[in-house]
């Protein structure tokens, strides 16, 4: 356990230092890609809460990123501040997520995936066809970057810090949440809903809550995504994005706190790193993900987890053996 804690602490410190110092040496392109990673991480953290902790399969996370992005774009292009857009997006996604949670009370697993898949398609159609609101297929251009605490976050470097700061706040919030009774209730829901119910956990409320909070984080990611790209149209928010987010959560390690960060890094950064192979980069990327899933269906962190568990088991059995040996000596 102590090794695990040490490793976590070391990784965390290194990661934070890197994210704070490295941008000063990064090109605009690298800044943009890492900002995109931060935004996708937030959306994946949301899905990890719904899927990884509460065990509810959702293929609609991409739509919530879209709802957030459109809320942000529509409000900020009409002169309203990003903070207001954030509040509206969170409330909106919470409400829609809550409503989407109702089918989850009746159906599970594949069936739930189908329900959310339908919702995902519906969301795309609304973005595309409700032109009076979303400008349809033409999209919304010149989404402004925000003014925060009196600083205009127009430059790539400043907006990078907006993304990273948002990720930090979300991370802290979720870290707190999963250690609260709520988080434990979510896990209980995933592991054994009937037992959870018999222990007095209101599974109905927590299922809806898992959807609503996870969706909220999708919305938060969307509100930041719009000014990052400075343009939105319906095309990024199709089922593709939902599947990509699902992949991030699973590849990173579903139900692990650090899973979404790693998963998003693989989905966003790895293809960019592999670009030097030109025509082959998507092939290599796909092969990597497939092999990883074969080796470790529980994702990247699953490998680490297995290693640490095996190690502590070995240690424990060694200790047991030593103990019994010492008992043996006495007799």
């Amino acid at each position: 356990m102590s090794t695990q804690r040490l490793l976590t602490l070391l990784g965390l410190t290194l990661g934070v230092l890197l994210l704070l110092v490295a941008p000063f040496w990064m090109s605009k392109y690298q800044l943009y890609v890492v900002s995109l990673w931060a935004v996708m991480s937030i959306a994946a953290i949301g899905l990890n809460l719904t899927l990884g902790y509460a065990g509810q399969v959702s293929l609609a996370q991409g739509v919530f990123v879209g709802v957030g992005a459109y809320t942000g774009a529509i409000m900020t292009t009409n002169g309203m501040p990003m903070a207001a857009a954030l509040v509206v997006a969170v409330v909106l996604c919470f409400a829609i997520g809550w409503a989407l949670g109702y089918p989850a009370l009746r159906v599970q697993h594949h069936y739930l995936a189908f329900v959310t898949l339908a919702f995902s398609t519906l969301g795309y159609l609304v973005f595309r066809n409700e032109e009076w609101l979303t400008k349809g297929i033409y999209g919304i251009v010149d989404v402004p970057r925000p003014m925060l605490l009196g600083v205009q976050a127009e430059s790539n470097l400043r907006f990078y810090f907006v993304c990273i700061l948002s990720l930090a706040i979300v991370s802290f919030g979720v870290w707190w949440l999963i250690r609260s009774p709520w988080g434990r209730a979510f896990v209980a829901l995933r592991e054994n809903p009937i037992r959870a119910l018999s222990l007095g956990v209101d599974t109905r409320r927590y299922t809806l809550m898992a959807f609503a909070i996870g969706s909220c984080l999708g919305g938060v990611a969307g509100v930041i995504y719009a000014p990052l790209v400075e343009f939105i149209d319906p095309s990024p928010f199709t089922l593709d994005l939902s599947l990509k987010l699902l992949m991030m959560v699973i590849v990173g390690g579903s139900g692990f706190f650090a899973g979404p960060y790693l998963g998003a890094a693989i989905a966003v950064l790895l293809p960019e790193v592999l670009r030097f192979t030109e025509g082959y980069y998507l092939l290599i990327y796909a092969a990597f993900v497939m092999i990883l899933m074969i080796i470790s269906p529980t994702g990247l962190l699953g490998i680490l987890d297995r290693y640490l568990t095996a190690r502590s088991t070995r240690k424990a059995s060694a200790a047991r053996a030593a103990l019994s040996a010492s008992f043996g000596d006495q007799t």
Binding site: S27, K28, Y29, Y32, V33, L36, R128, G136, I137, Y138, G139, V141, D142, N156, Y225, V229, E230, F231, D233, S235, P236, E272, R275, E278, G279, Y281, L282
Partner: protein, 382 residues
Amino acid sequence: MSITRKVSRLAVLTLAAGFMAAPVLAQPIHLEDVAELSGGGATVGTNFKNGADLAIAEINAKGGILGHKIEITHADSQSNPGVARALVQKALDNNPYVLLGPGYSGSVKVTESLAAKAGIANIMGGEAAELTQTGNEYVFRTSFGQQSTMPKVARYIAEEIKAKTVAVVWVNNDFGKGGRDVINAEFAKRGIKVVADLSTEAGQVDFAADVLKVKNAAPDAVFVYLNEDESARALKELKRQGVTVPLIGETTLTGQKVIDLAGGAAEGALAHVGLTTDAPIPAVQEFRKNFAAKYNYVPDHNGIKGYLAIYVIKAVTEKMGKVDPANFAKTLHGMTIRAKDEPGILMDVTYDEHGDIDRQGFLVEVKDGKQVVKTILPKMVP
């Protein structure tokens, strides 16, 4: 691997890197291309890329532009505006002479302002009308924008076909919607009634319901504005349900790929085409032959776009007499490039102050499984 082998390998690598970085006499001209090499726009981007590569190989074989060889980097936008933005940023970080692409109008909307901010000319493939209407001084087309093609199609439908009513079948993406909005406005101006306005999906397989609506509306003509694969499926269904009124399209409807896929169903279809590899112009035929020899397939208009983009760069640079990225855009505005001076440009072309082009167009009809040019629509300004 032993330490000595490691060290020796490192030494070789360092030496090689040193040689590569060694200054050459004439610095090559560096171009960056961001294209749709995967995802929904893969045919668009791949054709554009191959066309550009072909032109570069030709020019480099003849000694380059003003003695400078051309080098190009292609990057894949995955047909996603968010990724396109990242790659255009990366391309601009590398200080290219000119930025090429993307081909999707949505992606161009994201990237054109970045190129403008960097002061780099951007020669792109998008056809949506508004791309050149934002006052951006650095963006240039390679083909007609919809605002210049659609009026010609509407005029043909009104004056030649003498249709009073028309059905419009379009694909609901930025390409299809853009064209539909422009042509419907033109129809309204000419008093032609749109009796069926049918939005279809990209990748749609079954057109039975849409064609049935066309049939029930009984129009004098049908304007079909879809991507290649869908055009073929729609043509087949129109034939199957016995729609016999004239079918008119723009660029895509009569492409060779559509004719091949649709079999006999494309027979008699008409279209306005800005760039076609079937144009009865020797230079275009020569291009088509060379392209097919190099890549083993017949390019569509996107292949010509990529090819022309490179020859535009050549013509502008030779006019300036030096490699001058700062004055590139200024020089290209209002410039006319003639095929007799620069054969690679294939057809005379004039750029206006918005970066829109004026070039001759074609009215084609499908006969015996081939595009046949019916009328050549001359340049507005000779």
